[in-house]
Symmetry: C2
Subunit: 238 residues, 2 copies
């Protein structure tokens, strides 16, 4: 065995975005061990199993959390630094979790999307599953904070090419303001409400409904829905 060549373990880690009010949230899980763990939260992830490719592993991880079988997901970067498991506590956790001595672990990072209202499968594997807004994430093990940082750039890019993902973050019926606030959260800047309306009206896959908000203490906003058929007919807009 020629040790010069790296033989290693390969995992996937998923940055699952959710959206509420005017903020992006990320789904984090609490490791099922080491109670007083300073870095209690981490991104959901797993080593890749033998017969899987990375997409399948990411789907498995997400399915365990959400019950959904084919989540929309996007591989976005491999994180490969030898230093990513340099922290002693992180290395100990790996050994505990996988019953293996792991010298080197690289991870393939994914972005995925989930309605924040979805009931999550808390019981299964983790002590806890939580949505935390991107601005308030705690220090996480490995390079998970860095992974989230980079995923934020990536999701902007993704929305440009594939605005369908916006509607995976919103309720089935949503208002113009909700869609605009989601744009603002993803792009991290304000959009003019009037111009945004115009833009939205030119999206053939955003259909106005004859339904309005109820019990709001101001003028009721109209609801819209996403029309997947119209979207598929015309992958690009604007």
């Amino acid at each position: 065995m020629d040790l010069l060549y790296m033989q290693t373990f390969v995992s996937v880690d998923c940055v699952v975005f959710g959206f509420d009010k005017n903020q992006l949230y990320v789904l984090v899980v609490r490791r099922n061990s080491l109670d007083s763990d300073r870095k209690g939260f981490k991104l959901p992830g797993s080593l890749i199993y033998q017969p899987e490719d990375a997409d399948a592993a990411a789907n498995r991880v997400l399915n365990e959390l959400t019950g959904i079988h084919k989540m929309t997901l996007k591989q976005f970067k491999a994180f490969t630094s030898p230093k990513r498991i340099a922290d002693k506590e992180d290395a100990e956790w790996l050994e505990y979790a996988y019953h293996n001595s792991i010298d080197r672990l690289i991870t393939i990072a994914y972005i995925s999307l989930c309605k924040i209202t979805r009931k999550l499968n808390v019981a299964s594997k983790y002590k806890a599953v939580e949505w935390i807004s991107v601005g308030q994430l705690p220090l996480m093990p490995f390079d998970h904070n860095q992974i989230v940082e980079e995923s934020l750039k990536e999701i902007r890019n993704w929305v440009e090419n594939d605005p369908v993902i916006l509607f995976e973050l919103l309720p089935v019926k949503f208002t113009a303001t909700e869609l605009r606030l989601l744009y603002e959260a993803i792009h991290n800047r304000k959009f003019d409400a009037r111009n945004f309306h115009k833009k939205m009206n030119q999206m053939p896959f955003v259909l106005p409904l004859d339904e309005y908000q109820e019990n709001v203490k101001h003028r009721a906003a109209r609801y819209y829905k996403f029309d997947r058929v119209a979207y598929n007919k015309r992958k690009k807009y604007g």
Copy 2:
């Protein structure tokens, strides 16, 4: 040892683009073994060594080929299918090349860029190093053909965000037509010459020189050069 978890080898493979006349070329190497090998050419790559991260491994591979120490490169996708080494001939070659029985090999694919006129380090490690135009690549081992396919989409995206890479593919002095043909090759469509001139004139980092072609049998074209200082001042353009 719990075999359910995948322990594997991880490589990098590099799609190095070059440009000449009106075509994109890819740098391929001939494997140093198995002479009559049907799939003689492959992308340059290597297993990742112990102390390296993937970027370092890609840099090492490219440095061996070009002598350049810090090539511009971009990681773009991990290829992880268990089937990618299913071909018997490919598996045999791996064993020959790395003196290891390799059950699973994933690769992290990189894009890089090189002036096609650069003198390459043919002697070192490979039997041959060749530029082949993207339309004429032979069947290559593993999923290397697929990697090139996907790299073509990726380089378009990269140029949009970072047009500096164009100038790594052109001579130091280049004509407007050369730059246009490069755009056309990358985007795989024609651009109007007049509109392109206008666009080029608005790029503050493309400077006209007082030099013109010589010994051409038509009106001599003006040369331009890339101004890195102006580019760095203004990362985005028009």
